[in-house]
Symmetry: C2
Subunit: 141 residues, 2 copies
DNA sequence: TTGTATGCAAAAACTTTGCATCCCA
DNA sequence: TGGGATGCAAAGTTTTTGCATACAA
């Protein structure tokens, strides 16, 4: 599935403009698994758009979050917000040493989501599942 | 279980000083279910300590997080970090409208934790489970 | 064309740090 | 008493906002 298209199309469906900047940000989000911060996106997309501004990155991310097509993970460590283009229920593993975040598919999340849906009165819009720990590489150090 | 004592004792066990400010912050954390931000703690504890500084609140929270006796939830919304004195595996439900966060005990988290422990190479140190949505009150509006 | 989106810069919000003083162990 | 903790203020980060211009639809 071309998730880049998915992100871009959700902008159009919402009646928003598909600018080159937004498209570049969507493409980057869809292509990476690094759960980037706004600054990381800015640094890596800017070469294609020398005048791209960080404000636009923040604005676009906020728009995509509002549309529900990307998630925020909350700061991991004491740094900036991280974004995840994968909104399907999944677990993220965050290394407290090297700061990297990886995905971890789990078989239990659907049951968890069903439980919350049936036993709470909340109308669910998104989720965030994070474990903190030391990744294999950092344990070796 | 007196969780306030638990927090305070973990400071002593770590060889750290149990100052009145730290005790007040621990007591407040243990007594509330509002998953407060540093500012919320400051506002509500300060009446007892007119000279309490926000820096001390941040320092103490950082210390407690390092000790592993409280968790951070990550900003919910676009605001500040929220803290949770309940480190047992549990789900938090965050209302995107009124910003309140409540606890939701789940039967599936132990299975999830076991799965991550056995199928990843990470040494786990903490976790964060959050659903975003509309609480019953805000749905009614 | 028309109003949304952008870029820039300034401001706001949040968090950390330096340092002199204080005080718990 | 001594070294960690505090309070204050200043600095550092991260994020948002105002406004004139540009441009997608």
């Amino acid at each position: 599935m071309d998730n880049s298209l998915h992100l871009a199309q959700s902008l159009r469906k919402a009646g928003l403009r598909l600018t080159p900047q937004r498209l570049a940000i969507c493409s980057f989000l869809a292509s990476t698994d690094q759960h980037p911060t706004a600054q990381m996106i800015y640094d890596q997309v800017r070469p294609q758009f020398p005048t791209l501004s960080l404000a636009t990155v923040y604005n676009t991310l906020e728009t995509l979050v509002q549309l529900g097509v990307i998630n925020t993970l909350g700061g991991t460590g004491s740094e900036a917000e991280r974004y995840d283009a994968d909104t399907s229920p999944h677990v993220n593993l965050s290394c407290v040493s090297c700061q990297r975040v990886i995905d971890f598919p789990s078989q239990h999340l659907h049951a968890l989501e069903d439980e919350v849906t049936s036993r709470s009165e909340y109308r669910l819009l998104g989720s965030r599942f994070l474990f903190f720990g030391l990744c294999p590489e950092c344990q070796a150090t």
